[in-house]
Structure formats: C-alpha cells, structure tokens
C-alpha cells in the first residue's frame, strides 16, 4: 500500500499529465527502493560522521599503542564532526546518488517503458522535468533527515552546534548534489546504455572536482561549494562564483536533457 499522503494527493489534485507523471515518479522512487537506499546510506553517514570524529582520538590511541608509537591528537570539536560530515556527503553519498539515478531516463529507453509513456499525450519535456523535480524533492527530504541526525549526534557528543551555520552548510551540500544529479540525468537522457551514462557522469563529476585547480576559472566550478562550506563554518567571506557555476550547470544540463529526449526516436 502507498503511504496515505500519496493516496490523498492522488485524489485531490486536478488531473493533468504533469501531475500524473510527478505522482508516478514519487511512487516509483518509493516502490523500487531508490528512496529507501538513499535514506539508509545518507542516514548512516550522518550518524557515523560525528561518531567517527568523537572517537577518532581513542581509535588512533589504541592503534599507536599496539605499534609502540605515541601519537597525540587534540580533543575533537564540533568542527571536526562537520568536516567529516561534509567529506562523507560530498564524496561517498554523491557517488551513490549517481549510481541510483544514472538509469532514470536511459533505463526507460532501454526497457521500453519510455515508448509506453511517450506515445501518450505527454510532453517529452514534462517527462524529464517530472523526474528532476521528484529527485530534487527526495534529495531535499533526505538532506533534512541527514541534517537532523548529524546535528543531533554532533550536539550530543560535543555539547555544541552552530545551528545556522550547519543549516547553510547543508544547503550548499544539497546544491552540490543537485548539480551532480542534473549532470547524471543529462547523461542518462543522452546515452543509449546505463553503463555509458554512468561512465560519463563520473567523468563529469571528477572534471568538476579537478576544475577547482584551474585558477580563477576554477572558482566557478560547483565543486568549490564544498570548500565554501569551510568558509561558512569559519565565518569567512563566501564567494558567489560557485553558485553562478552551479546554476549554469543545472540549467544547461536541463536544456540538453530535454533537447536530447525531444530528438530521441524509439
């Protein structure tokens, strides 16, 4: 059975193809497990990050004791917990987001459900936009859960948490993940197979990461949002350039995705 909220939503909305597509996407994310996998993985790292930060000195101490070396690590603070959280979410969790969403369009083209849908009175752009909106909504929801869990455990272990800064850090991480999501959807719309889409999505993600090294131009890379999180925590000036880069990549990926699907022949 569907959650009661989705059932109510299905009854109350005026029937338009876009709403039908949004509802279908939401149901698909829930019923095929995409949502639950993301929720479990993000929650795991959200809890593990403050936990690791808190017990890292003890872990190092026991390791060094076994090898007869003495390593002194300063007492961890909430800053270490947030740094660990940022690292895990921006690397491991983003990797999982690509894996989960790489088949979002190309799988439908491969297995024939795109034909089933696109022969109906549905705009091809609506097909892409509905997928993007629901995936974004799901990421927002999952980030809210991660934020709450990580925030709670950070406060529990370190008795302190700058709530506003941590909220802004999460919003930047979300924006970075949305950039990766839009690139993944774009390659999913362009490619003929899931493997090709996955390879190109990872290459594009790595490229954005490497772009940070390209001097002034590199500051426009959406991956610079990760380093901006540190500036926020340290109350330093935040550059607007990665935000411009992020907006540009999201819009461009959206346009290319829609264009690719409009010209796709079954």
């Amino acid at each position: 059975m569907l959650p009661w909220k989705i059932y109510l939503l299905s009854l109350s909305v005026k029937k338009t193809p876009m709403k039908a597509l949004l509802l279908k996407e939401l149901q698909e994310n829930l019923k095929t497990g995409r949502f639950w996998i993301l929720l479990i993985i993000f929650s795991f790292f959200a809890i593990m990050s403050p936990l690791t930060a808190r017990y890292m000195p003890e872990i190092f101490a026991s390791m060094s004791k076994q090898q007869g070396i003495e390593i002194k690590i300063p007492d961890p603070t909430w800053l270490d917990a947030i740094s660990q959280y940022v690292k895990n979410i921006s690397q491991l969790c983003t990797f999982v987001v690509i894996l989960i969403y790489v088949g979002i369009v190309v799988k439908e083209k491969e297995n024939g459900t795109a034909v089933f849908l696109l022969v109906k009175p549905v705009k091809r752009s609506s097909f892409i936009i509905s997928k993007f909106i629901i995936a974004m909504m799901i990421l927002f929801l999952i980030f809210t859960v991660s934020f709450s869990l990580s925030g709670f455990y950070t406060y529990l272990f370190f008795d302190s948490l700058p709530l506003i800064k941590f909220t802004v850090v999460n919003l930047l991480l979300l924006l970075n993940t949305v950039v990766v999501l839009s690139i993944t959807i774009m390659f999913s719309a362009i490619s003929k197979t899931q493997v090709v889409a996955a390879i190109f999505s990872f290459i594009a993600w790595l490229f954005l990461g490497l772009m940070v090294q390209f001097g002034d131009f590199g500051k426009f890379s959406p991956s610079s949002l990760i380093s901006e999180t540190l500036n926020i925590v340290k109350s330093e000036v935040v550059s607007i350039k990665p935000f411009i880069g992020a907006a540009f990549v999201i819009v461009l990926s959206g346009i290319i995705s829609i264009f690719a699907l409009k010209n796709w022949e079954a």
């Binding site: 039908a20 597509l21 279908k24 089933f116 109906k120 009175p121």
Partner: protein, 308 residues
C-alpha cells in the same frame, strides 16, 4: 473521412543506403480492422512508429483523422493507442494502477477512470489479477493488458504491432478474441506476419515488402482476385495416377499439377470452368479415385504469390 492516410511516406535510417519504407501511400477507412502484412524487416514496425509519432519520416507525410503526424504533436496522441511488439509497462504497478495512470495522462476524471478501467479489465479478462503487479503477468496477460492500456484513452485509431507473435495458441486465441471485440469501436491497425490471424479478424489487408506497399484491398476481394482454389485428388492406385497424368498430357487440362505418392495437387487456371469439368474428365477416362476435394484460396497463397 479516412482514419489513416499516408502520402509517399519514406524512412531511411542513418548508416543505411536503402529505405526501410519506400514511398508508402495508404488510405484506411474508419472503424475497420486493418491487417498490415509483410515478412520480417519489411517495414511494418517502422510504419507504426511513424504513425504513432515515435519517429519522424525522412520524406512524405501521414495523417490520423486528418491531423498531420509529427513527434511534437500532443493533441494527435489523444487520438491513438499503441501496443508495441513487446509491451512494456511499469512492473511495480498493478494492472489497475497502470490503467489509472494512463487515465490520468488523458486527463480523465476519477469517476471516468474507474468506470473505463473496470470495463477494460473485464473485456480483457484480467479482472481477477487487477491487483497483482505487472511483473507477475504471463505473456498472454501482458499482451491483453497492453491492449487494455492502449484502449484506455478511447482512441480513434489503435495500433497493434504483432500482437500475437510471442504467444502460445491459447494466448493467441484470447488476444484475437479481444481484438475482434473492438471492431466498430475504433479503427484497428494490426501488423503481423501470422496469416491465419489476419484471415480471422481483418476487414482489409495491406501487404508490404522491402518497404513498398504491394497490395491493399478488402480481404474477400483479395482472395477472389489473387488466389485460385485448388483440388486434391487421392487415386485408388498408382496405375490410376499414371492414367490421369497421361490423360492430362494428351488432352491438356490447364493448370499446375504437383504429384506426390498416389495423389495430385491441382491448381487450375480457371477454377469456375475446371470445377465442372474435372469430375467429367475423371469419369471419362475411367480413373478410380478415393477422394476429390476442392480447397478455398488462403491468404498464404496470396502472400506467397505477391511476396515470393
């Protein structure tokens, strides 16, 4: 007014020299079951993909209910239903959920969706499995579900691409009965290479070969026009068969003879004339036979004659 009209419809795929569809010109009347016949690779699926706006033609134009077809025409898609060769639907949805989803895409009201879905589930014989996931359906059930979802939006033209090719005899019978029950409700455009299916339910036939339309006519007219009936004669002995063969040679019985064991397969040039004369010919030459049977023309004869 015609339901489907094509004018010089041509499709040349990238990396291919020869057209998959070569100046196809076709007119199909409303509310009939049209059988689109042709060997594998003749251009049947390409035609359907263009007519369902899933693909653009390289040249030419096509109309459904007078509306020009192209991949950006959303209004046009309200007029059509489509069952692909291998129907694919969302496996995580139940049968009823698929129909409700399609109903929402056609902007039908909740009440209308429920009434239409119940009707189609009953017509397709899937009422008992409506709450089971599509991923658990058998091939025949999937095919019937595919037709039901294609009918959900009350299409004026229903395209069925080889609807029975992957089914066992029972599944084929069920699907053909379902298609037959749609006659009069909408125009059915059915592509197939199974001749007996076409013979059973189609009002008109079009035969396509190597991308070109070879013939288009009413099923009965085609049979009369192209196919001559044939006679099978079983002789009492080999000696009688020899007597018959010698008599045919000396008196020239017009037609084609294929001898096998103690029988002959005779295809006369003029069936009306020879039907009366054959018995007289046999008795005049005192040939003993065990059986003489006249067989009607089959679509297979026409198909082989035209496609080779």
């Amino acid at each position: 007014m015609t339901a489907i009209q094509t004018e010089n419809l041509t499709k040349i795929y990238r990396k291919e020299r020869h057209p998959s569809l070569d100046h196809l010109t076709l007119e199909i009347k409303r509310n009939i079951v049209f059988g689109f016949l042709g060997p594998n690779g003749a251009g049947k699926t390409t035609t359907i993909k263009i007519l369902t706006s899933l693909m653009n033609a390289t040249k030419g134009s096509a109309f459904i209910e007078g509306k020009l077809i192209n991949t950006k025409q959303i209004e046009l898609r309200k007029l059509i239903g489509y069952l692909p060769q291998e129907p694919k639907m969302y496996g995580w949805m139940t049968g009823k959920e698929v129909l409700k989803f399609v109903g929402r895409l056609y902007q039908m009201s909740t009440n209308e969706i429920n009434i239409r879905a119940d009707l189609l589930l009953k017509m397709s014989g899937l009422n008992d499995v409506k709450d089971k996931r599509i991923s658990t359906y058998s091939g025949g059930m999937l095919q019937r579900m595919g037709i039901a979802q294609a009918m959900m939006g009350k299409p004026k033209v229903l395209f069925l691409d080889e609807p029975t090719s992957s089914l066992d005899p029972i599944g084929r019978k069920e699907v053909l009965e379902f298609i037959g029950s749609l006659s009069g409700e909408c125009t059915v455009f059915m592509s197939t290479h199974i001749l007996s299916d076409v013979e059973r339910i189609c009002d008109e036939i079009g035969i396509i070969n190597k991308g070109k339309l070879v013939i288009h006519d009413q099923t009965d007219k085609l049979k009369k026009k192209y196919a001559s009936g044939k006679a099978i004669i079983d002789f009492s002995s080999e000696n009688d068969m020899k007597k018959f063969r010698d008599a045919v040679k000396s008196e020239i019985l017009p037609g084609n003879f294929v001898y096998e064991n103690k029988s002959v397969n005779y295809s006369p040039l003029d069936i009306k004339k020879e039907k009366h004369q054959l018995l007289y010919f046999i008795s005049e030459h005192q040939i003993e036979i065990n059986r003489l049977e006249w067989l009607d023309a089959t679509l297979e004869d026409i198909f082989i004659k035209l496609v080779g």
